[in-house]
């Protein structure tokens, strides 16, 4: 493998692999190779240039994992999925954020839609993914005092990333708007439609379009079809 990596023994059932300069989509592929290597349902958390493996007694196979990764070849041209997420930009923090960044709320909304982003990893809450990287003009440290209640589906930014709250939670990110569908469904086998390494674009919709989409209750394959970027 072209990336330098270190493996940490985190107790008998957990291994963490840190990889230098690895892209999110490469992490996704390395994770799938590791699943094949263990030949079983192994739980892999991909986050910030690291992979953490959870499997009974996996630490005893640290040396094997090391040689497996050393000889692993990852394809160069990996084509990511691309999702266009419909957002109603009516967030409670638009005004205060505009003031802090010395812009108008309209500028913020336009800037937020101006790039194609990448899903960099999962964490924090079930189905919460970190989407990067924000344009410089939108980057801001998280709030010094977190809000106690950030509503479900809130699209929020902090640091270099956007996040979408799958459930109501406390949180320190600035809320720009609301996603038009639910991100996480614990009642289906694949509760989240997207994966690490996928590309994400944001698209502003009107409140009418938002209500219409909410009423459609799209799920599973239908939802994926609706969100797939037009090439």
């Amino acid at each position: 493998m072209k990336h330098k990596f270190t493996i940490y023994d985190m107790g008998q059932d957990t291994l963490t692999i840190e990889l230098d300069g690895v892209k999110p989509i490469e992490l996704k592929h390395i994770a799938s190779y590791l699943k094949q290597f263990f030949d079983t349902d192994i739980d892999v958390l991909a986050l910030n240039q690291s992979l953490t493996l959870f499997k009974k007694n996996c630490a005893t196979r640290l040396d094997e994992v090391h040689s497996f990764l050393s000889t692993l070849k990852i394809e160069e041209a990996l084509a990511p999925m691309c999702w266009e997420l419909p957002i109603h930009y009516n967030g409670v923090d638009l005004e205060v954020l505009a003031e802090k960044l010395k812009k108008t709320p309209e500028d913020l909304i336009a800037l937020h839609q101006s790039c194609t982003y990448t899903i960099e990893g999962f964490g924090f809450l079930p189905g919460f993914f970190y989407i990067g990287s924000l344009p410089k003009a939108l980057q801001i440290p998280r709030k010094s005092t977190p809000a106690l209640r950030v509503p479900k589906r809130s699209v929020a930014i902090a640091g270099t990333q956007t996040g979408i709250y799958p459930i109501e939670s406390s949180g320190g990110w600035y809320v720009l708007g609301e996603l038009a569908f639910d991100l996480f469904d614990p009642d289906v086998q694949h509760p989240v439609f997207a994966d690490i390494g996928d590309e994400v674009r944001f698209k502003a919709i009107s409140s009418d379009e938002f209500e219409l989409l909410r009423a459609q209750h799209l799920k599973g394959a239908q939802l994926q079809e609706r969100l797939l970027c037009s090439k």
Binding site: Y8, M10, D43, L45, G121, G123
Partner: protein
Amino acid sequence: MLEIVRPGLWDTIQDRGRFGYRGIGVALSGAMDQEAFANANRLLENAPNAAALEVCQNGGLYLFKAPTCFVLCGFETEAVLDDQSIATNTIYGAKKGSILSVIRVVNGVYAYVAVKGGFITDQKLNSRSMHPSLYGDQKLKKGYQLPYQEYEGSKIEADCRPISKDRQEYVLEAIPGPEFHYLHPSTDFSSLKFTLSDHNRMGYRLLPSVHLKRSTESIRSAAVFPGIVQLTPSGECIVLHRDAQVSGGYPRILILTEQSLNWLAQIKKGEIVEIKCTIKSPFT
């Protein structure tokens, strides 16, 4: 059905936990004291993952609406079945209409009420362990009905030797975490003493008896799991427990063993916790 006539301080349904979904941010969950939980199912000859009712400190009042056998597992716990005191780790028969009152966990914090066959509550992502992100509720409320299969045999022909074990002064065992070097090299890792402050199913706040000298660097969000000991900017330690989220931004200085997590679950607020880490850190 078992009806929650009056809920205890923090009643939940738990099993061994939710495996295979940490990759999408779902917490492991599961019984806080996995050893006591496993004993309950072993005594009743249940499947090892059969769901049980977890009570914390003060239990509630529960009505059996169908006959079954049950056990109350954990350390010494004051409990009454239809006005008769009952012992822990012992099988009892409950009739339709029997009332169980779990008054308080005398020695320890968590205790488990398990019925023959386990509670067959709603499963989400292959587990019945309650977590607010999946069930909406943090804990069981008054009037909730917990389904179970009716069981007529009042005695089970099982190995039902009671496990009478007192809680000891445990020394928790740990291995170094990836950010072990954030602690000052002069720290005596062979015996770190803490006072247990507030705690819940997500984590335990430990106040060190000596000032832990440390590096003030922060880390990028990284994987965490039950057993990870985090060092906060104010110098306290947080031990993550069963409901911990999957990522965190504080240095991960130590990792407790699974057995130590079970022991920690039974330590009360204000008590002294000793952590021993004898392994030299392989990390730099």
